[in-house]
């Protein structure tokens, strides 16, 4: 997407603010995987991986990888104190039963109602939904991290998604390179801006209307 490291980290840092002590959190690939780097030391979180790890820790240093201790993307991770392993049915039981507090994932499009379209890339073969539908539908809070626009400059936030949906009406918050939006029954609401972007600039790059919070926070 051509998003610089600094911007990616700014988004990840903002997402990390949503994570509270004691939560169970599932992270998608891409920018979401940067979120743990921005958590304060005192915040204890159990990161959930759908291949059967609760309490996933950071990647081990080179040479210390364990081929049988990997995240859902197949890359080596570690286990924190208090971690546990389980089979795939149990891992998804945690999701469907509502024990996963939050999922932070990337997306291709999000609608003003919180419809999520993140599993079929236009013009590409359908790769399958993996665990995305269950996470989107059943995690208590769904946070999307993505660019405000696609590579052609079109808004990825829109009235109706044009791509096939992963799950309807499931996204609670969108954090882009420009702004932070909340989605509730009242619709899409602009909550925060990343400096130096302005409300008008965000409006010009958003494919639907939105309301604006009374005290907009500007993140430097």
């Amino acid at each position: 997407m051509g998003m610089g490291v600094e911007v990616r980290n700014r988004i990840a840092k903002r997402a990390a603010e949503e994570i509270k002590n004691g939560m169970i959190v599932n992270l998608g690939i891409g920018i979401p995987s940067l979120v743990p780097n921005h958590l304060p030391e005192c915040t204890k979180v159990m990161f959930h991986a759908e291949n059967g790890i609760t309490g996933m820790g950071p990647s081990p240093e080179k040479g210390k990888e364990d081929e049988n201790l990997c995240n859902a993307g197949g890359f080596p991770v570690s286990a924190v104190k208090g971690a546990s392993y389980c089979d795939s049915a149990v891992a998804f039981g945690m999701i469907r039963k509502g024990r996963v507090d939050m999922t932070i994932l990337g997306s291709l499009q999000v609608s003003e109602k919180g419809d999520l379209a993140n599993w079929i890339v236009p013009g590409k073969k359908v790769p399958g939904m993996g665990g995305a539908m269950e996470l989107a539908q059943k995690a208590k809070k769904v946070i999307v991290l993505m660019n405000q626009t696609d590579k052609h400059g079109n808004s990825k936030i829109m009235k109706e998604c044009t791509l096939p949906l992963t799950s309807a009406n499931c996204v609670d918050m969108i954090i882009t390179d420009m702004a932070v939006f909340q989605i509730s029954d009242e619709g899409l609401k602009l909550m925060e801006l990343f400096a130096p972007h302005s409300v008008n600039e965000v409006r010009a790059k958003t494919g639907c209307s939105f309301t604006i919070a009374e005290n907009i926070r500007v993140i430097g």
């Binding site: 081929e67 201790l69 359908v126 790769p127």
Partner: protein, 230 residues
């Protein structure tokens, strides 16, 4: 090792149970926890027209991906094939059918198969044609659900860390993944194991898959592929 249950066999004897056109269910997630020696046995035997059931299609050179990439499967039931571009190409060219199931529902369908339950009810992906297809729907307590049928296979193949001669299994960390579920769902289940230990040396409390579900145990020659991260 004492073989009083006659379950411990070599890979050659295990391969006698494999044939063209059969349904094979495999354990593993992105190749992690997929039995490498049995995969190579399948390739050497050259069986084809297989129906493969498992979490994903691995990578082209990893796990079940080795079988898929050589065009040996006519059908897959999986949650995604994104990590194996050759699987995607075979699907697009009409050479392999793929039935996609949401990952956790696929796990439950396999679990149901292994637990002798004909189907489960699910509310996942009900607004998505790829999930719903022509599946039966049913109303329970005023809410609509999809009927997701159970999955079984002629042979299940799993990969475990240790087995005793009865086939009691323990797994290694995240290589457990779908293996305990797949182990239960085969009409016959063959476990490839890194180590066979004497009867009584596994604590009954630590056993994940009771040997009841395991028909044969094959010693592993170890993982012989290079992982994506290496």
């Amino acid at each position: 090792m004492e073989n009083i249950f006659h379950k411990i066999i070599n890979i050659e004897a295990a391969m006698e149970h494999f044939y063209d056109g059969m349904t094979i269910m495999f354990g593993g997630f992105g190749g992690i926890g997929t039995p490498p020696t049995i995969i190579d046995g399948i390739l050497e035997k050259g069986i084809k027209d297989l129906t493969l059931i498992g979490n994903d299609s691995g990578f082209p050179h990893i796990g079940i991906g080795k079988v898929v990439s050589r065009g040996k499967a006519k059908k897959m039931i999986a949650s995604h094939i994104g990590s194996n571009p050759i699987a995607g190409q075979l699907m697009t060219d009409g050479k392999m059918k793929v039935e996609f199931s949401p990952q956790g529902i696929l796990a439950e369908r396999i679990r149901a198969g292994g637990a002798g339950i004909p189907a489960i009810l699910s509310d996942i992906g009900m607004d998505n044609d790829i999930v719903t297809g022509d599946k039966q729907r049913c109303i329970l307590n005023g809410k609509e659900y999809l009927v997701e049928t159970a999955l079984t296979a002629e042979i299940s193949i799993v990969f475990a860390k240790k087995a005793d001669p009865y086939g009691n299994l323990i797994y290694d960390k995240s290589a457990r993944n779908t293996n305990p579920l797949v182990a239960m769902a085969g009409d016959m289940t063959i476990a490839e194991v890194e180590e066979i230990v004497p009867l009584g040396s596994l604590e009954p409390d630590e056993i994940i898959t009771p040997g009841v579900f395991i028909d044969y145990i094959v010693p592993s020659k170890g993982v012989n592929w290079k992982w994506a991260w290496e």
